[in-house]
């Protein structure tokens, strides 16, 4: 019967509690459960890697693991095995949090009835199985849809290419002289095929966003530059319609934590849209400043003097396939995907989008983007490290080439590889790999804030060296790497680290980062 028996792994350091729990299986049919008991997280992870387990029963306070971190580690060690958390009576809130980390259920010690335990475990297993099945099905459906959209948009591109080519061949006089009217009509065809192309692009973008394929590369981003560039790019389009396009950027603006390519895309959608709905001699303005409501965010507004959005519609304009009901007679409707794409992109970068308007007096489309802050990035890690004898280490990896300068393509590609290697070297989820901090040039720096203490730090530095040297793709690139480590004085703390402490540490890290980047500029000037 052992083949059908449920394999339970109990991770519990209290011998008394373990005995009590074991008792609860006594009344079950012999052979229906097999209970394996370990009292350390490390043993549990070892067991999970070797043996099939149907369910893990996990105490959240272990000698080598504490609180949610325990749940995260157990879940990471065996993501396909359902997990039920055991907790003390005063820890119910934490236990509820554990569900978000991947636990199926929690049981409160001292409140478990004899018969309830086996039943709870069976339910947990069943629920987990159904969830996995649903996820799989949904994944398959999404993939099918994605493949379909990508196929369709691919197939639509070929005939469009031919239309493009031949229209422009005739327009350029390669097939003989054209009269004014012929030229005018051909330009209509050309304009419309361009529109078709942008619709196909939108379609593909939406399908990418939906499957989460639209990768974001969050980094230190200067919003000011992006706004200035985009406004300059669209100046001509605005002028053609007789619209004044301008920007107004607050001084001393912090950088955002965002993906510059995506921000440019968002700006183009918003400004283009504003131009479309504003009549001749109107204005479109782009404002950027720190959000008054939350100084941790930048506020970006695109204000137009157009006809505005009807009352009650301001929320709907971001919906997929939304069309302005009375869109310009002259102008052509799009697919209704632009603002939808825009909203999805902003939200995935941690911001918000909304619209305000008074009919006839124009509309304002606003969005927020998180300000870049090292403190925000490292705070969660420091909170998780409260009971460690922590000293914080800043590990700096520098990537350069023998000739001094990297070609752009090689640099972007290799940066990505290096980031992957670094991410795989990090110790649990406490260490933080900081995003790209400076403009790319001859060398590139990568910074890891290691919160896992001295042993972790040395292990990480060694591991980074070894893995970078071993990475096949980097070997061929001819790049040079240096790995160094700086200890940052950090005091031990018994409770949650204070905001002030996190900020102070963040400033020290920022200092070190700045020093490295300055050095880089100095060596290349």
């Amino acid at each position: 019967m052992k083949g059908n028996a449920l394999q339970i792994l109990l991770v519990e350091d209290s011998a008394g509690d373990a005995r009590l729990l074991r008792e609860m299986f006594r009344t079950e049919t012999p052979g229906s459960f097999v209970l394996t008991h370990v009292d350390r997280m490390s043993d549990a992870i070892g067991h999970l890697s070797k043996t099939h387990v149907d369910i893990v029963l996990l105490d959240m306070g272990l000698p080598d693991g504490h609180g949610l971190e325990t749940v995260r580690r157990a879940h990471a060690a065996a993501p396909d095995v359902p997990l039920v958390v055991l907790t003390g009576m005063d820890d119910e809130l934490v236990a509820a949090e554990a569900m978000k980390e991947g636990a199926q259920d929690y049981l409160i010690k001292g409140q478990i009835e004899n018969r309830a335990l086996p039943r709870a475990l069976r339910y947990a297993i069943e629920r987990h199985r159904m969830q996995a099945e649903t996820d799989l099905l949904r994944g398959q459906q999404m993939q099918l849809k994605d493949e379909f959209l990508s196929h369709v948009s691919h197939e639509l591109r070929s005939p469009l290419t031919a239309i493009y080519q031949f229209v422009s061949i005739i327009l350029d006089g390669l097939a003989g002289e054209l009269n004014v009217q012929q030229r005018e009509y051909l330009e209509v065809i050309l304009r419309n095929s361009r529109q078709l192309k942008s619709m196909i692009d939108d379609l593909l973008e939406v399908s990418r966003i939906q499957v989460g394929k639209s990768g974001l590369e969050l980094q230190l981003t200067c919003i000011q530059d992006l706004v200035v560039d985009t406004v300059a790019t669209l100046q001509e389009t605005a002028a053609l319609k007789g619209i004044t396009l301008s920007s107004d950027i607050a001084p001393n603006l912090s950088s955002a934590y965002a993906d510059p390519t995506r921000i440019r895309q968002i700006l183009i959608i918003l400004i283009d849209n504003a131009i479309k709905f504003t009549p001749a001699s109107g204005t479109v303005q782009v404002h950027v400043r720190t959000s008054e409501r939350d100084p941790q965010f930048l506020l970006l507004e695109v204000v137009d003097s157009g006809r505005g959005i009807p009352a009650g519609m301001t929320e709907h304009i971001f919906e997929r396939l939304y069309q302005a009901p009375d869109a310009d007679k002259g102008g052509r409707k799009g697919l209704g995907l632009g603002l939808h794409i825009c909203k999805a992109l902003v939200m995935r970068q941690g911001g918000q989008v909304w619209a305000t308007s008074e009919l006839g007096k124009g509309a304002t489309l606003s969005l927020t983007l998180p300000i870049f802050s090292i403190a925000n990035l490292i705070a969660p890690a420091l909170k998780g490290a409260t009971d460690a004898e922590t000293s914080i280490a800043l590990i700096v990896t520098e990537m350069g080439s023998q000739s001094g300068w990297l070609s752009k393509g090689l640099e972007i590609e290799s940066s990505r590889e290096v980031r992957d290697v670094l991410a795989s070297c990090m110790h649990s989820d406490l260490d933080v790999l900081l995003p790209k901090m400076g403009p790319a040039s001859g060398t590139e720096f990568f910074f890891i804030v290691a919160v896992t203490g001295d042993i972790g730090r040395e292990a990480i530095t060694r591991r980074i060296r070894e893995r970078l040297e071993a990475a096949e793709k980097l070997k061929q690139s001819g790049l040079i790497f240096t790995v160094s480590c700086r200890l940052l004085p950090a005091h031990k703390h018994d409770q949650e680290p204070s905001e002030e402490y996190v900020n102070r540490l963040a400033m020290k890290i920022q200092d070190q980062v700045d020093q490295n980047l300055r050095q880089k500029v100095a060596t290349h000037e």
Binding site: H154, E155, R157, S158, P159, L160, T161, A162, I163, Y164, Q165, F166, S168, I169, D172, L174, S193, K197, L204, S407, K408, G409, E413
Partner: protein, 138 residues
């Protein structure tokens, strides 16, 4: 000086003809292939100065063609420019690794096509026309 020779490997007849008309008008001689195998065969026969290569081809895709070209020292030196409806960075990177000099997305504008062809052939850009695409961006 005789005209430079360009081989167009493209299975869509209309797109093929469109490219031909445009290139011919700019004093290039064009040759054609409609699938992967004939792509390599035509390259062997005509020794073109440049190959414009579609990725979605019958009988092995454009990556296969680049692989076959690379295996032959005489053909490996011919610069390849990919012209494809396949989008996305993954395809760009893959094409670059396979040896492509540039990647053009369909539908491609004529100015862009010509600018990239000229740059790849090491010719000066046509006066008055901006070079639309920096090949380094690939």
């Amino acid at each position: 000086m005789s005209n430079k020779k360009i081989l167009i490997v493209e299975d869509d007849a209309d797109v093929r003809k469109g490219m031909h008309l445009r290139l011919q008008a700019n004093n290039y001689d064009t040759f054609f292939a409609v699938d992967a195998v004939s792509g390599v065969a035509e390259a062997r026969k005509h020794k073109p100065d440049l190959i414009l290569l579609d990725l979605g081809l019958p009988g092995g895709d454009g990556f296969k063609v680049m692989e076959w070209l690379a295996a032959n020292p005489y053909l490996a030196v011919i610069p390849v420019v990919v012209v494809s409806a396949r989008t996305g960075n993954a395809n760009r990177l893959k094409a670059k690794k396979a040896g492509a000099k540039a990647f053009l997305e369909k539908p491609v504008e004529n100015d862009e096509l010509l600018a990239v062809v000229r740059k790849t052939l090491g010719e000066a850009p046509k006066p008055g026309k901006a070079l639309v695409h920096d090949l380094g961006d690939l």
